[in-house]
């Protein structure tokens, strides 16, 4: 891209951030938008067992509403496993959070059942694990991990209203997931994205009856850019360069965390693609298994790719000294094909000792683990 990217945060609140992104490609800015909306894990209620429901709403209705309740998911990348990645047979404290709700109305008044009535409970296994020998994931959780978001001064989420004699009693299991599976797992409630507020690039056509200017008033972002002169010819080579975004979260994650995780997720996707093209990478397989759906566990796959590219890689690193080269540092741990991808999402800091040929040989174990931090100990990825 032309020149280095520029970021300017215009406004930062705990659940929203408004920023301007400059000197990036339209495709890239859009990828950032897509990734924060759909690829960041959070926690949401995924299963509901209804013990008693004499309210006016059917079970499904209530179950669906429960799924939408935002739960505090800070650091859930590391603090929780996907159920599909967990070794437990049917849910354990590492991959599930149990919540309970039990409200009966005995008053003459109507009672609101809200997300405040949801309480986190230890679950069917009890808290057999004390905090000392708790798995690593549990130690990374904040004190209110998995609790419904409860903003001071804000109304809780209304689930149902019940009158005298009615009862709602249920148990829920909350799990980690991403919004590609179901929108309830999206940490974002709204992401706004705008470029070219004056429509200089004519990426859109303004339909109007009489006066285009009057019928299409300029938004606040228009102040950031110079208005085109009346007689200015259309520049058909111009490309969008400045993007105005606002990311607003539902409270399950902070805005800052969403952005940083979004960038990390983009890197993971790219890194997985690189690892996929390079042949003979049997050592990366195991540890990274199931990462974000990107990797199979079968190391053998890598050997199948044709070796031709290996040579090309070697030659090319020499040719392009500025591009980061994969290093041939001795892997610090493990050996053979069972090496695990280390956690360090090595970014721009690839060591530059290209060794060329063979491709596979050039992969230091320490560099192989792209993706979310803290994956080293368990190999579970997001």
């Amino acid at each position: 891209m032309d020149g280095a990217a520029i970021v300017r945060i215009r406004e930062l609140k705990k659940d929203s951030v408004n920023f301007v992104l400059e000197n990036v490609d339209l495709a890239f800015a859009n990828s950032l938008r897509r990734v924060v909306m759909a690829d960041i894990p959070s926690i949401a209620i995924d299963m509901v067992e209804i013990d008693a429901n004499t309210t006016v709403l059917p079970d499904e209705f209530i179950a669906h509403r429960l799924g939408m309740v935002p739960l505090i998911s800070a650091n859930c990348d590391d603090a929780m496993r996907y159920t599909r990645d967990c070794t437990c047979p049917a849910g354990c404290p590492i991959c599930s959070i149990w919540l309970q709700l039990s409200v009966t109305c005995t008053d003459d008044r109507t009672i609101d059942v809200t997300s405040d009535n949801l309480e986190v409970v230890p679950g069917p296994f009890g808290m057999s694990m004390s905090m000392d020998d708790a798995p690593e994931e549990l130690t990374k959780r904040g004190p209110y991990f998995g609790h419904p978001v409860n903003e001071p001064g804000a109304q809780p989420v209304l689930l149902c209203k019940i009158r005298k004699g009615q009862e709602l009693k249920l148990r829920c299991v909350a799990r980690k997931g991403i919004a590609k599976e179901h929108a309830k797992w999206s940490p974002c409630s709204a992401v706004s994205f705008e470029y070219d507020p004056h429509n200089k690039l004519r990426h859109t056509t303004h339909w109007f009856e009489v006066d285009e200017r009057a019928e299409w008033p300029l938004g606040p972002n228009a102040e950031e850019e110079e208005a085109p002169r009346e007689d200015q010819p259309f520049d058909f080579n111009a490309k969008p360069n400045k993007f105005y975004m606002e990311v607003e979260t539902d409270g399950s994650l902070g805005a800052q965390e969403v952005i940083m995780k979004g960038l990390a997720e983009l890197q993971t996707k790219l890194a997985n693609l690189i690892l996929g093209i390079k042949p003979d990478l049997d050592m990366i397989a195991g540890g990274d298994g199931q990462a974000a759906g990107a990797w199979g566990t079968d190391g053998g796959n890598w050997n199948a790719s044709e070796p031709a590219a290996g040579g090309a890689w070697g030659a090319a690193t020499a040719q392009d000294a500025t591009s980061p080269a994969w290093a041939n540092t001795a892997p610090p741990f493990g050996g053979g094909s069972s090496r695990r991808g280390a956690a360090s999402p090595g970014r721009a800091a690839w060591s530059s000792s290209p060794t060329g040929g063979g491709g596979g040989g050039g992969w230091g174990g320490a560099q192989t683990g792209w993706g979310s931090p803290n994956r080293e100990t368990n190999g579970w990825a997001t």
Partner: protein
């Protein structure tokens, strides 16, 4: 009705190759790369980056069917590099750029936090009990010592 399970959109099947390269037999220096369980997020970004490289003659991607969770990207180069290497370079450049952006975002967030007002440390209140429930700063900044090798 014909849609696959939602989780299959992003979880690789057993033994599925995440990336498959098919070299084109009729066009020189061209390859079609099939990338499984990824979508426009990755495809469009990589395509745009490839097009910005002088040695790439053609780059295009498509998601052949909306119900099938993969995309293909076609790359043709001028012969100085292989399409695979072009793709790899594009990814490396993008990773570098994202890394750069990450640093800049971090700095901007730090500035805004220092400004006081609205930073993540404002997230107190009854639920928070003093501990920041949003992990603002906490969560992702730990364990990011990616220079540890």
């Amino acid at each position: 009705m014909n849609a696959i399970n939602r989780h299959e959109l992003f979880v690789l099947d057993e033994g599925e190759n995440p990336v498959e390269v098919t070299e084109d037999t009729k066009i020189p220096n061209a390859a079609t790369i099939r990338i499984a369980k990824q979508d426009h997020t990755l495809g469009n970004m990589v395509r745009a980056q490839l097009l910005s490289m002088p040695s790439v003659l053609f780059a295009g991607y498509k998601v052949p069917h909306p119900l099938q969770p993969y995309f293909i990207i076609k790359v043709q180069t001028d012969g100085t590099i292989t399409p695979q290497f072009a793709l790899e370079t594009a990814c490396n450049d993008l990773i570098k750029m994202v890394g750069d952006l990450e640093v800049k975002f971090k700095r901007e967030f730090a500035f805004k936090d220092a400004d006081g007002a609205t930073g993540s440390n404002a997230a107190g209140g009854p639920t928070a009990g003093g501990d920041d429930p949003y992990g603002g700063g906490g969560g992702w900044s730990e364990g990011k010592d990616y220079l540890d090798f």
